[in-house]
């Protein structure tokens, strides 16, 4: 059952197959893996965000511990570098009483050339019930989910998806902006190479926000405007002029500019990029009053975001990191019971 469902999911990674929730008062979670937000229903996102609020209360206790995942083994398998995602998954698991084992590709048998499937099967054999995985190849977590019995959480795969970041961004936005329906949310920066942007776009569209994507034409994702069955993204407004995009924005989500883009010829120079696309206090003055600024980190201060803005009152970057732990606790808690 599990493998047939995941292979379906893989075949139509962008297909919208919403998992219905039971209609009774208790909202029951049935999702086995969390691989992308494209197939989440708005209801499911609500369940995660509500549960996240409960987890924030656990984190605020003098002794932030609850035994919900006692006896559960979680393995984080990171084929790519990470600070906050890996650390927050580890902390989320530990707060809920799980045992957490951290593996990175360096220092493990991956260095000796072990294949992804063999590694995943080995981890399952030692008792991993939840596998948190980051990989440079888009779709790698789908492959893992298909070849093992553990529940898989995608912690970032290539340019494809980073669903837990998408959920924590939604939670953070809602905590400041409130209901996101019809709100103008601007996503600025290297959208083409950003899994965070893709998951944000999916999540925001499920919750009914008006999404504006702003990037130089060379950094716009190719799948914009394509039909869904062809891997297309939800409908967004594209605006290559940041000063126009930011007008009347209810929130601005900035993205990390990956410096290697310069070598690929997609940008003439860092200085030109920051002149045209840096989110700073002068530009934020055109947004709606009180509009927050988000950034998934790690930041290039002075490139995609000015230092003053990143550390100013509009910035929710620290909240994002804090909410990241609570969102991951919520998912681990909800997934523990799904078959």
């Amino acid at each position: 059952m599990a493998s047939s469902r995941t292979s379906e999911a893989r075949a139509g990674a962008q297909q919208v197959t919403e998992v219905p929730l039971t209609p009774n008062e208790e909202r029951v979670w049935r999702r086995r893996h969390v691989l992308d937000l494209d197939d989440f229903s708005a209801d499911e996102i609500e369940v995660v965000l509500e549960t996240t609020a409960a987890m924030k209360e656990v984190l605020a206790r003098d002794v932030p511990r609850a035994p919900a995942l006692r006896g559960t083994t979680i393995v984080t398998l990171f084929y790519e570098a990470s600070t906050r995602t890996r650390a927050s998954f580890e902390l989320a698991g530990k707060v809920l009483g799980a045992d957490v084992i951290n593996l990175t590709s360096s220092g493990s048998s991956v260095e000796k050339g072990e294949s992804l499937i063999d590694t995943v099967r080995t981890l399952q054999a030692i008792g991993a019930q939840v596998l948190v995985m980051r990989h440079a190849m888009s779709g790698a977590p789908y492959l893992a989910a298909e070849h093992c019995d553990a529940k898989v959480i995608n912690a970032g795969d290539g340019w494809h998806a980073h669903p837990t970041q998408g959920l924590l961004d939604l939670y953070t936005l809602r905590s400041r902006v409130g209901d996101l329906r019809g709100r103008r949310i601007v996503i600025v920066g290297d959208v083409a190479h950003s899994r965070v942007a893709r998951s944000d776009i999916w999540g925001l569209s499920k919750l009914g926000a008006e999404i504006v994507v702003c990037a130089p034409p060379t950094l716009l994702p190719a799948e914009l405007g394509k039909p869904r069955e062809d891997g297309g993204l939800p409908d967004v407004t594209v605006e290559t002029d940041l000063d126009k995009a930011i007008c009347g924005a209810d929130a601005v989500m900035t993205l990390r500019l990956q410096q290697e883009r310069m070598a690929g010829g997609q940008l003439p120079s860092l200085r030109e990029y920051s002149r045209l696309y840096q989110v700073n206090e002068a530009r934020m003055a055109k947004a709606n009053p009180g509009a927050p600024v988000l950034h998934p980190g790690p930041m290039n201060e002075g490139v995609e975001i000015s230092a003053a803005l990143a550390h100013g009152a509009a910035s929710m970057i620290e909240e994002q990191v804090q909410n990241g732990v609570a969102v991951r606790m919520a998912l681990l808690y909800l997934m523990r019971g799904s078959k």
Partner: protein, 186 residues
């Protein structure tokens, strides 16, 4: 067999008023008192009890809500996780007298979980238990301090508590079932 009404809305109102009097009497007033309702139906019950106590003593007492999802031990029998409700704790429960409020007391496992949850939050002076219905079949040594109605049941019977706030009307009914040892959610 059709369902049979155990308590009408009048019975329910009287039981809540009586329990409110009992709580005030046992505590000689309302000092340090906190009511904690257990999700889902314990929460409106706790609020009603608090209103009844306020009518008797003229003192408002804090009411909180507790979701024991993180502390349950019956996940394997329940199958799926349920959305957690943010607990609305009135304040620190340390050194307070906590009265835990639930609709039906059955195996006692939910209450055991609730005790763990409370103790993780703080160290109350005292914890008591008020339930609308005690239907027996305890699996752990837990005993209620205040009971609306004792109802002898078979294990497989279904007790249905309906409250205005959650179900649109006040009523308690029993649906006898001929499943011999059927497990039921408390």
């Amino acid at each position: 067999m059709p369902e049979r009404v155990l308590m009408t809305s009048e019975d329910l109102r009287r039981a809540i008023t009586r329990i409110a009097h009992e709580i005030v009497e046992a505590h000689k007033g309302t000092r340090d008192l906190v009511l904690l309702g257990m999700h889902t139906r314990g929460v409106p019950l706790a609020h009603r009890l608090a209103r009844a106590i306020e009518q008797i003593e003229g003192e408002a007492i804090p009411v909180g809500a507790l979701d024991i999802g993180l502390y349950r031990d019956d996940l394997s029998t329940r199958g799926a996780s349920v959305q957690l409700a943010p607990g609305e704790l009135p304040q620190d429960v340390s050194d307070r007298r906590v009265v835990l409020v639930d609709d039906v007391l059955f195996t006692g496992r939910s209450v055991r979980a609730a005790l763990d949850a409370i103790i993780d939050i703080g160290r109350p002076q005292r914890i008591q238990l008020a339930v609308l219905i005690d239907r027996g079949h305890r699996e752990v040594p837990i005993r209620p301090d205040y009971v609306g109605k004792n109802v002898p049941t078979a294990r497989g019977d279904d007790i249905r508590v309906r409250l205005e706030e959650t179900d649109g009307r006040d009523e308690v009914a029993i649906m006898p079932q001929d499943v011999p040892d059927g497990r039921q959610e408390e």
